[in-house]
Amino acid sequence: QKVRVAAAANLRYVLEEIKKQYEKEHPKTKVDITFGASGTLTQQILNGAAFDFFMAADMDFPNALKSKGATVGPVVTYIFGKVAMWSKEVNLSKGLNAVLLPEVKKVAIANPATAPYGENAVNTLKKHGLYDKIAGKIVVGENISQAAQFAFTGNAEIGFIALSLALAPDMKGKGFCYELPADVCPPIAQGCVLVKGWERNGEASRFMKYVLSPKCDAIWKSYGYGLVKR
Amino acid sequence: MIYIDVERKMLTTDGPRKLEVCVEIEKRELVCLFGKSGAGKTTLLRMLCGLFVPDKGLIRIGDKTVFDSSKKINIPPQKRNVGYMFQDYALFPNMNVEENIRFAQDVKKMDEVESLLHTFQLEKLRHQKTTRLSGGQKQRVALARAFARKPEVMLLDEPLSSVDFELRQSLQNEIIKSHNLFNSTTVMVSHDKDEIHRLATKVLRIGKEKITTFENPTNL
């Protein structure tokens, strides 16, 4: 059996671990994951891409799908995601204001139109009156992991990325990371939903239940996500 | 055998001019075309074999009308059964000497290819690329290729201009031999008076006026 998952880019590392654990417990099942910006995946599902399960980076995109009749069952919040600033060389102890430092020439964010993490970053910058001051420095990645990659390669001094990406084993400790506190930028509720399809949903709903189950709590936590109260 | 009554505009050394021809060529005749450079000899041959379209007129070959401007008839070259040897040879560079000749045969007969190679002294060059031949060698391949098809009507455009004196004589004999053997009607361009004397049964002088009458080869 196969489960085809469309997953928001911030889940890139966590979900791989969850997948490994799941496949170990269910050896007959293969989980195929496609990562992308939530908006991109929404567009693909609307155009008939053969996904069974959609894990977004916010509630709006899965709800939009539901309203267009492309889903089955309810949209469920599965975790809360957090935004972080990350830099390879610039000390981020100043918090958000670090974006104004002269040595910061480029600031990477995800595309606000398609990636909720990007939208969040823009909103936060606007709320603190910083957006207009650095508008010329902003470079946009297609989704949150491309934004992260711009920062990790050092082509952009600062990146607004998902905390989960900064905590990934590959990245951890390779630069400065500043987790935006809840009052500066509240955690993002991320929703998931089953996609309408022919008759492949049985295995998919099993995977959905698994993702929501306590079995995954430890993994979610280790990537800095906020758990949903059950 | 061939009835031709056509006209076609040309740009010549003396400015624009109309080539007008109205003659009838009997079967088994060997007609030599004779005339100034740029007078329209090649143009006439190309109209006969269907590569040029006359501005107006009529061409009959055998009992088939191959061109008639009034009836909008224009039989394509493939269906005219007319062999044509190009003044600039037009050999196929993707084929060697032997393949060029074999390609021309309607019915593939290897012994005929051999005899053509022999006649035109090309045996040793049979596997040579045609781009690597001397001028006279190319001319001979083009001539051999035209003969390979054994057409009713044979048009030869200066077939021997680039071969040496001895070879020229022996190839002249070959032309006559094939002409007689296949019962062909041949129209050939030549600038060489001796050659015309030897080969032609009739001569057509391409000049500035409308061409209507043959001349006698001996009067040249």
């Binding site: 085809r4 880019a9 890139r12 590392y13 195929d32 496609t34 990562f35 992308g36 693909q44 155009n47 008939g48 891409a49 053969a50 989704n143 992991s145 491309q146 992260a148 990659q149 990790f152 990934a168 590959d170 990245m171 | 074999c49 269907g50 590569l51 394509p76 070259p77 493939q78 059964n81 007319v82 062999g83 044509y84 190009f86 600039d88 037009a90 050999l91 196929f92 560079p93 993707n94 390609f103 021309a104 309607d106 690329k129 781009t131 290729r145 098809r149």
Partner: protein, 222 residues
């Protein structure tokens, strides 16, 4: 090498080979038509054939997405009659790739045909050969370098295809996840070593392929 890695490379090769094969079969007659015939509106036809070259892949991708959508006439028809959906499938990507690479097959072939002296055709005609026979025995063999270029360019262009596949194919493992997409993905996962791996393999394969093509091509030159 992981099985996923091999799957991706296999898919890439499959797409490029299928595209090239299909395009060679339809490209040869189109190129001949453009090179040898005159008709009214030929310029228009020629421009249309070459459109995919000038249009960004995303434009083509967008229009294909629209066409493939079950909401629209063509996509709806496919869905109702054949239960077929093209978006995000191999077939859909193949169609996109064929359209996208069409000019890269036609252009070099057409240039080759145009450069042939007219007298080759004329000579074959006066030898009583039909247009077909002339085409396959005289014209095609004399444009071998152009044929090699056309095939190489088309194959290459399909391997490098990214924008359209991303739009109409998405990133479905085993179905539409070709190498160019996989590399993009791996770079984003900061799996530089895997990205490197793919890149190096493609680099090596492409390089060997090109060296072979250009060595062979040399022998075709007349």
């Amino acid at each position: 090498m992981s099985s996923e890695f091999i799957q991706t490379l296999f898919l890439t090769a499959k797409l490029a080979l299928s595209t090239t094969l299909i395009l060679f079969v339809i490209g040869l007659p189109i190129a001949a038509l453009l090179a040898f015939t005159r008709f009214r509106l030929k310029v228009i036809f020629e421009a249309l054939i070459n459109m995919p070259m000038v249009l960004p892949p995303t434009v083509i991708g967008y229009y294909l997405l629209v066409a493939f959508s079950p909401q629209h006439a063509f996509g709806g028809l496919l869905e109702r009659w054949f239960d077929l959906r093209l978006a995000f499938t191999f077939q859909g990507v193949l169609i996109a790739s064929v359209i996208f690479s069409l000019p890269f097959m036609v252009q070099p072939l057409q240039n080759g045909f145009v450069a042939l002296p007219k007298s080759y055709r004329e000579a074959a005609y006066t030898l009583g050969k039909s247009k077909m026979e002339t085409f396959f025995r005289v014209l095609v063999p004399n444009i071998k370098p152009s044929i090699v270029t056309a095939i190489a360019m088309t194959f290459a262009h399909s391997i490098g295809e990214f924008g359209i596949v991303l739009m109409v194919g998405g990133n479905m493992p085993g179905e539409t996840r070709v190498a160019s997409i996989a590399i993009y993905d791996e770079v984003q996962s900061l799996n530089y070593s895997t990205a490197n791996h793919y890149s190096l393999i493609l680099f090596a394969v492409s390089f060997v392929l090109l060296v072979i093509i250009y060595s062979v091509n040399r022998h075709f030159r007349i």
